[in-house]
């Protein structure tokens, strides 16, 4: 059955990870992974400080590698700035990045997790995204091995996407995970601006994940997914990062 693995005790297993990598399950949802009071503190800091967004188009903090597929130098420049901003945001709160890395490392005991760098430059640790009322995220996949080939993090075996919900919506903003793994032949169904035509998911099994504050959602982002339209006045605010697993070298990378 295409549904999520629900975790209530903060303990995931390697089998859980394997199930989302293989497409047996749609997502891992770790309930109340991050304390509500820390989520609120982060939101407070974001709202009060004058923090520069990464682009005029999106209300996000931190560069997203997929926006810089051919402009690597610019990505690393912006990642450097973002690293300073995130240090300020996570000051005096339980660092969510470290917490996410730790839970991934726990299920890969023989692996080492590295501070991901390329030519001495650090990758962005995460992206904080704010999606406002009326916005949605169209059907898409994330696959660094395809679109991020100019970056070293593309040399991985498996990619996971970790989304921590910092603020939940009143309605909408749900993650729809389709039981359909991206293949290159889907490129003929691309939309000009972003993502894919919904014809690809017609009659495809779908699992819905509600955005709940403090929950950590882990998915295999190479499966087609989208975010439904945000309704009500509360923005959907998430912290997102990717985890890359390299089996031969037993290394784990993280980036955004």
């Amino acid at each position: 059955m295409w549904d999520s693995i629900l975790i209530t005790n903060n303990e995931i297993s390697n089998t859980d990870i394997k199930k989302i990598i293989s497409g047996e399950k749609s997502a891992i949802i770790i309930k109340k992974f991050y304390e509500k009071k820390h989520c609120e503190k982060i939101i407070e800091k974001i709202n009060s400080a004058s923090i520069q967004n990464d682009s005029k188009k999106f209300n996000h903090i931190g560069p997203f590698l997929m926006n810089y597929t051919t402009t690597k130098e610019k990505y690393f420049q912006n990642a450097k700035k973002a690293n300073i901003i995130f240090k300020k945001i996570f000051l005096n709160v339980d660092n969510p990045i470290n917490k996410i890395k730790l839970i991934i490392l726990k299920v890969h005991p023989n692996y080492e997790i590295l501070e991901t760098k390329e030519n001495g430059m650090s990758y962005a640790p995460c992206t904080i995204r704010r999606h406002e009322k009326g916005s949605n995220v169209p059907l898409h996949k994330d696959n660094v091995k395809y679109e991020g080939i100019e970056y070293n993090v593309s040399k991985i075996d498996n990619q996971l996407s970790c989304i921590l919900h910092l603020q939940e919506t009143e309605r909408g903003g749900k993650l729809l995970m389709y039981k359909k793994k991206w293949e290159k032949k889907f490129e003929k169904f691309r939309e000009i601006e972003f993502g894919y035509n919904s014809i690809l998911t017609k009659n495809i099994e779908v699992d819905t994940v509600e955005p709940k504050i403090g929950d950590l959602v882990i998915i295999n982002p190479n499966y087609l997914h989208e975010i439904t339209k945000i309704q009500g006045n509360a923005d959907r605010i998430t912290l997102g990062m990717f985890i890359g697993i390299q089996n031969k070298s037993k290394k784990i990378f993280s980036w955004a």
């Binding site: 926006n67 597929t69 290159k184 032949k185 003929k188």
Partner: protein, 95 residues
């Protein structure tokens, strides 16, 4: 404003020319474009392909062009009707 078409790379013909299956056309293009056109690359913004044309090999082009969704900004046309264009990936940026 130059004409813009989008589509999927089909065959690589030479080190700088390929066939494109056209799927989208910009509103207001000055010309009509058929469903299959030949593109001569004048400028490129594709992950995995160097900016320097002299470094390109057919294999490199095949990897990044064939099957990929591409944006072609047409700058001119040859007497044979081939479209000289700036070629970039389209639809990949994050939300």
């Amino acid at each position: 404003m130059s004409d813009v078409i989008w589509g999927n790379g089909k065959n690589v013909i030479s080190k700088d020319t390929f066939e494109l299956t056209v799927t989208h056309r910009q509103n207001g293009n000055s010309e009509e474009y058929q469903d299959a056109v030949k593109i001569i690359i004048s400028d490129v913004d594709l992950p995995g392909l160097s900016d320097n044309k002299s470094n390109w090999e057919i294999d490199d082009l095949q990897k990044v062009i064939v099957g990929s969704f591409l944006k072609c900004e047409i700058t001119s046309k040859t007497s044979e009707g081939n479209l000289i264009s700036k070629v970039s990936h389209s639809g990949a940026a994050g939300y």
